[in-house]
């Protein structure tokens, strides 16, 4: 399941979505707003997304992960809007019978999300500048 939200990501809810007696392993990944990037200090991030395509792309990544690994449940959510230091911008939760699949699929989903899903972040640097990040 893929979702976009402007609210703080509820990690407990996300874990409940993927935990099942059919699974022996759950992996949750959180991307969080880090204070320092190559020595520059951030105070906040703003995320903008092309919502319908972002959701479609997240669903395609989920389908690819389910085709590559035998997964029980997979849930991915990305937050949009204004995020303070330490808040989670993205969460991937995945469950599987055995742990290797959950780790590999979790890493695959976040790796693919970062290169394909049309979402952009704007840095709010501590010195007052703002800057769109375009790798």
């Amino acid at each position: 399941m893929a979702r976009l939200t402007e609210q703080p990501i509820d990690t407990e809810e996300l874990l409940q979505q993927v935990r099942t007696p059919a699974a022996g392993a759950v992996v949750l990944f959180l991307g969080t707003v880090r204070e320092f990037t190559r020595g520059e200090q951030t105070v906040a991030l703003d995320y903008e997304g092309f919502a319908p395509m972002a959701l479609a792309e997240m669903e395609r990544i989920e389908a690819e992960a389910r085709a590559k690994w035998e997964l029980k449940e997979l849930s991915v959510v990305h937050r949009l809007g204004h995020l303070e230091l330490g808040e989670a911008s993205v969460a991937v939760a995945v469950s599987s019978a055995h742990r290797a699949a959950a780790f590999e699929a979790g890493q695959f989903v976040i790796d693919e999300l970062k290169v394909r899903v049309p979402i952009w972040k704007k840095e709010n640097w501590a010195d007052g500048r703002t800057e769109w990040v375009h790798p």
Binding site: G31, Y47, E48, G49, F50, P52, M53, A54, L55, A56, E57, H78, S89, V90, I110, L113, K114, V115, R116, V117, P118, I119, W120, K121, K122, W132, V133, H134, P135
Partner: protein, 91 residues
């Protein structure tokens, strides 16, 4: 005598995001695209001629038709929903 289709520009509505939106100050622009057929590649060229603020991003701009990535070879007819944006940086 009307001009042949091949040289009559096709108006294409393009949604912009992130830095592309910021540089133009617009979330939705219309670009007159010339080409036979009209492709994402010809849109890319027309776009930076008509919105020179986007020229520094030209080669890196990504395009989508509907909710799918498009390549420079993708043919468009001006009726689809087209989006244009810089490399993504979510996560």
């Amino acid at each position: 005598m009307p001009a042949p289709d091949s040289i009559r520009p096709v108006p294409v509505d393009v949604q912009l995001f992130a830095l592309a939106k910021e540089l133009t100050g617009q979330a939705l622009i219309q670009v007159a695209v010339t080409g036979e057929p009209v492709t994402i590649g010809s849109l890319r060229k027309s776009l930076v001629l008509q919105f020179p603020q986007l020229a520094p991003l030209e080669k890196r701009l990504l395009f989508a038709v509907g909710t799918q990535y498009a390549t420079d070879d993708t043919v468009i007819d001006g009726r689809q929903s087209v989006a244009c944006f810089p490399p993504v940086s979510g996560g």
